[in-house]
Subunit: 162 residues, 2 copies
Amino acid sequence: MGGMLREDLQALCSLPAALEAMGERWSFLILRGSFNGLHHFEEFQSELGIARNILANRLARLVGHGILVRAPCPDDRRKIEYRLTDKGYALLPTMIALRQWGERWETGVPATPILVDVRDGRPIRPVEVLSHDGRVLTKGDLHWALPEDVAREDEPEVKAAE
Amino acid sequence: MGGMLREDLQALCSLPAALEAMGERWSFLILRGSFNGLHHFEEFQSELGIARNILANRLARLVGHGILVRAPCPDDRRKIEYRLTDKGYALLPTMIALRQWGERWETGVPATPILVDVRDGRPIRPVEVLSHDGRVLTKGDLHWALPEDVAREDEPEVKAAE
DNA sequence: CAATTAGGTAGTGATTCGCAACCTAGTTGC
DNA sequence: GCAACTAGGTTGCGAATCACTACCTAATTG
């Protein structure tokens, strides 16, 4: 692979855009809190031990990016509920992948509460990069291609995941 | 789900450990550079436009965490090569997942150089959380369990991905 | 109507960031 | 073999961000 695509890679990769939304220090931990059922300012604050102004700033930023929605509780109008949007839920694979990486390479052991499939109680699979037909792809199996060079799905094989 | 596991979740989740290694501002972009074939200080610097002292700090930190290795080039001993370790390569699913999320929810359109399987030239599948037998799991399908409650793999079903 | 609670804002010092300049070892030109 | 150049940093400085504490306001409870 030559350096021909270098600038296109730089310009058009969506990783910087993703990092603009999620790249700040507490963002992923707040997201984890949301996935774990935290909804209120004080819950996040006491759970994460984050400074209040930073928490307020992060929550506002996550709301601004459409990852959380901010809604006053109808029963107690002092309370504000922060809930994940679809866009926020869509970060689940990223978060699980990062968590699994930390398990494998940083803490070294599987974390004690194990994330399992609720349907059969068995641990989830490691998050991996898969080809269209489900083969596991590693770094050498990947390639950058321009749209016109991409093989179209002429044969109706397995199309994405349903 | 009660708040019973709350503290265990907090204490034992490996996400904070992962973020300690990768949570800083430029870390993911440096990683992307490494995956895209950058190896030298000046390459990263001119490609990412990062400040030199910050780049030096990030590279040293990534090396310290075992994500990159630092090795002097044998042919030109001014040059230092930064290469991904296995631990660094293992971040591929996380990075792809984050990039795909950015494509779907931030930039809105698929990035122009498309990441494809080199074997058949077809785009890769979206990174997803899968059950042990390959079903796609969303947020409601997941559950925290203690090790003793986790279903063992007594029946030899599909075990991980081959 | 006083006390409490939820969700913030304001002020202050310590870190970190980005930018530019400088430095050092190794390499190349001649 | 000495000047010029290059790779990979380090240093200093101002700006932005961080964590910590105190304070504030609206709603709720006693």
